[in-house]
């Protein structure tokens, strides 16, 4: 699996490269800025690009713009955006068109190597990965007549994993239950929340997120 990295801190960039190398990825490009990343994505067509959201020169929105550009011009390339803050507004922007092949995680997550590598593979394969912080903040919010109160604790767990982009298999692994049981929980959750059930695992991320936000 081929990866391109855009990160302006040398320490982190090289640490990441080593981590990915160890995990069996082929790091085809290490870039300091967005322009370089776009150029290398064009030339090497990696399976996935890891993009720091704050890139030179201004450290404002260069990273995000590069990520959105890769998503529109190279839909086959997965994009995993890393940031020291995760913002719901940016998640909605990144997932606006589709949640396929896109991830948005706190930078801290890279040190949890197994999970990070799992999320990266998922994004490279066209799935999605959304930082659990975003989902848990939204889920923990108190609502009047809270529709979430109808969910069982297990269903809540499934909901959070689902909103983070986990596949049914992933949820099954995480909760140590069968895929069939996961499917049952998912359809029960969609029924209780009044959401139209969608076939695709990545499309339901946005549906759940939108539901939680409102």
């Amino acid at each position: 699996m081929r990866v391109a990295i855009a990160e302006d801190s040398v320490l982190l960039r090289e640490g990441l490269a080593r981590l990915l190398d160890d995990a069996g990825f082929e790091v085809v490009a290490q870039c300091e800025n967005a322009d370089d990343l776009l150029l290398k994505v064009r030339s090497y067509s990696p399976d996935v690009a890891i993009v720091d959201i704050r890139l030179p020169p201004t450290h404002n929105d260069e990273g995000l713009r590069a990520a959105l550009e890769i998503r529109s011009k190279h839909p086959s390339v997965g994009v995993l955006v890393l940031s020291q803050y995760v913002e719901l507004g940016l998640a909605l922007k990144l997932l606006a068109d589709s949640a396929e092949g896109v991830g948005y995680l706190l930078k801290d997550r890279i040190s949890d190597v197994d999970e990070f590598v799992g999320a990266l593979r998922r994004v490279a394969d066209g799935g999605s990965a959304l930082d659990p912080i975003i989902v848990s903040t939204l889920v923990s919010r108190q609502r009047p007549d809270d529709p979430l109160s109808q969910l069982t604790p297990r269903e809540r767990e499934v909901l959070e994993l689902m909103a983070s982009g986990a596949s049914n298999q992933g949820i099954a692994n995480a909760l140590v239950i069968t895929v069939r049981a996961v499917e049952k929980y998912v359809s029960s959750i969609f029924g209780k929340l009044g959401l139209p059930s969608t076939g695709s695992e990545s499309r339901r991320v946005l549906a759940v997120l939108t539901f939680l936000r409102s």
Binding site: S9, L11, L12, G15, L16, R18, L19, D22, I53, R54, H59, N60, D61, L64, Q84, Y85, E87, L88, G89, L90, L92, K93, K107, D108, I110, S111, D112, V113, I134, T137, L138, S140, R141, Q142, R143, P144, R213, S214
Partner: protein, 595 residues
């Protein structure tokens, strides 16, 4: 009233000009004027007597017409000299009058007098041109005008002497060298056409000047200029007619003399009208007694000066600049159609009248108006100073807030690129290390614990950094930043952001803090079930509204949070309002200019 007055534009010039009352006067006109009147009084009867005694066929009409010119010119000249000792116009008019009187001597048969009369024959025309062009301050304004006048004098004196020498005035003339009639005729031809041309050009200059004069120039001044222009055209016509031996020379000559004699009368009427202008100062004094507010002062002064375009400038020594009544800095005009008259108190400027250039002709009026308005202008100056200080205060308030903002941004950036980045890298290193130590479960557990500590530190740091400055706002704008704020609120928030582009950073930051502080307050005190945020731009204002359905009755005085918000919004010229009826929810509304 200690106010004195100076004419000039800007400080440099005013400093160089002495106040009017102590103006350096080159000539004291009183004695000379009396002398001149005496000379004229004696000279005219003597001359007429000489002419009558030496001539049989004297043309008395002609003599009377020359007196008709001489007397008004000398009298008007005396008045002008007396009123404007620093202007050369008075002496010039007197000289012109004398020249005209002397030219009548050519009607005698006494050779010496006849010669003098012959020499002065054409000169009055050149004087008249000079007076016309030098009106009203005695100076010629352009090189072109100087060339015209010098040419006219040269032709009127130089060519006249040549002509007489060639015998044009017969051999009676004492300076005739012989009789060469055709050469004399040639010289006369050149002379008359030259003077005609300069007079026509002079008339053109006057017409042009009148068309470009300020709107307020008095009708009587226009009358003077018109009569000058007509006189110049008639002289030109007369000389061409004479040169070509055209028809009705005598009638034309008389008409010309009548018109030229009328122009000093128009000049005197103009002076009288200016006197009447003084009564406007009396009206002004009455009006000022009612102590009009500074805004109405300008209108009153404009009426007194008959210049609707008048503006006032106040000198603020602390700021070292002139300002308008609202305290905005302004420059005095340096040249062109506007002139500044600087008003001083004890030698220090305190205000300036900025008026049409045409008022420069009436320094006395400016002086009286300036003196009459002294105290009222001083009040206006105090008001202008107050406003200037307010403007400055407002500016420094914005600067303080912005400097604080920049500093916060810098701190956040340092945390982000420094401590946070290093901790993440450290955590990554630990986990790589951990992977190599598969055989050492105990060490692995410790490393894992260390990573967990780092994760907690990072979380705390993240909250601190976000509190210092929301980087998402700078990077991605108000809409994205508010989306995250709303998402982090512990209660449901309906967010409507109607913005199609980024706003100035200080506006975004202020709006962000209004929402952030309001949400914090709602979370702490309001016991609200939900809240709604509405952000929209209308024209040049950003309106931010945060409404909750809580218990209301919020403390808007004690909390430093609300006070700080209001400061921030007001510093940008905006307004923060809060409605918080007990039991009726709370509504915070900020309006921030963002043009």
């Amino acid at each position: 009233m200690g106010a004195s007055l100076q004419i000039g534009a800007g400080l440099a010039t005013t400093a160089a000009v002495a106040p009017l009352g102590r103006r350096n006067v080159g000539l004291r006109p009183n004695l000379l004027a009396l002398g001149a009147i005496a000379v004229v009084g004696c000279a005219l009867p003597i001359r007429t007597a000489v002419i009558a005694s030496t001539t049989n066929d004297v043309d008395l009409v002609q003599v009377a017409l020359l007196d008709w010119i001489t007397i008004p010119f000398v009298l008007a000249g005396l008045v002008a000299w007396w009123r404007r000792p620093d202007s050369r116009l008075g002496p010039l008019m007197i000289a012109g009058g004398f020249a005209s009187g002397l030219s009548a001597l050519q009607l005698t048969h006494v050779d010496a007098l006849y010669t003098i009369g012959a020499v002065f024959d054409i000169l009055p025309a050149a004087f008249f041109l000079h007076v016309c062009l030098a009106f009203p301050d005695g100076r010629l304004r352009s090189r072109f005008e100087q060339v015209l006048v010098v040419t006219a004098y040269s032709a009127a004196i130089g060519l006249q002497l040549v002509k007489i020498a060639l015998g044009a005035f017969g051999t009676n003339s004492l300076i005739a060298l012989g009789s060469w009639p055709s050469a004399a005729a040639d010289v006369q031809h050149v002379q008359l056409l030259t003077i005609s041309a300069t007079c026509l050009a002079g008339a053109f200059v006057l017409v042009h000047r009148r068309r470009h004069a300020g709107r307020l120039r008095r009708h009587s001044l226009e009358l003077v200029i018109s009569s000058f222009a007509i006189g110049l055209v008639m002289i030109a016509a007369l000389f061409v007619d004479g040169d070509l031996d055209g028809p009705a020379f005598q009638q034309l000559q008389r008409a010309t003399l009548i018109v030229i004699g009328l122009s000093p009368i128009a000049f005197l009427v103009g002076l009288l009208d200016e006197r009447l202008g003084r009564s406007a100062v009396g009206d002004l004094m009455l009006e000022l007694r009612g102590e009009p507010p500074p805004r109405q002062l300008r209108e009153a002064l404009a009426r007194a000066l008959k210049d609707p375009s008048l503006t006032l400038a106040y000198w603020l020594p602390d700021f070292h600049t002139y300002v308008d009544l609202d305290g905005n800095p302004m420059e005095l005009p340096q040249d062109g159609e506007r002139t500044a008259t600087v008003l001083e108190r004890n030698g220090v400027p305190f205000a300036a009248l900025i008026h049409d250039q045409a008022l420069d002709d009436e320094p006395e009026l400016l002086e009286s108006v300036g003196a009459a308005a002294g105290i009222s202008l001083e009040n206006g100056r105090l008001q202008a100073e107050l406003r200037a200080r307010l403007v400055e205060l407002k500016g420094s308030r914005i600067r303080v807030i912005e400097a604080g903002q920049k500093e916060r941004q810098r701190l956040e950036r340092n945390l982000h690129d420094g401590a946070q980045q290093r901790l993440i890298a450290l955590s990554l290193q630990l986990s790589l290390l951990e992977q190599r130590l598969e055989a050492e479960p105990e060490i692995r557990a410790e490393l894992d614990q260390a990573r967990h500590e780092i994760a907690l530190s990072l979380e705390e740091l993240r909250d601190v950094a976000r509190g210092i400055h929301p980087a998402v706002l700078t990077g991605h704008g108000l809409k994205v930043a508010l989306e995250s704020l709303a998402a982090r609120a512990p209660f449901p928030v309906r967010l409507t952001v109607d913005l199609d582009q980024r706003l100035p950073e200080r506006v975004e930051v202020a709006a962000y803090y209004v929402v952030s502080e309001s949400l914090t307050n709602i979370g702490k005190h309001a016991e609200a079930r939900d809240a709604s945020i509405r952000v929209a731009r209308t024209d040049s204002r950003l309106v931010v509204e945060v409404v909750d359905d809580g218990i209301g009755g919020a403390d808007t005085e004690g909390g430093s949070g609300i006070r700080g918000l209001a400061d921030r919004v007001e510093a940008l010229g905006g307004r923060l309002r809060i409605w918080t009826p007990r039991g009726g929810g709370t509504r915070v509304e900020a309006e921030i200019p963002c043009a």
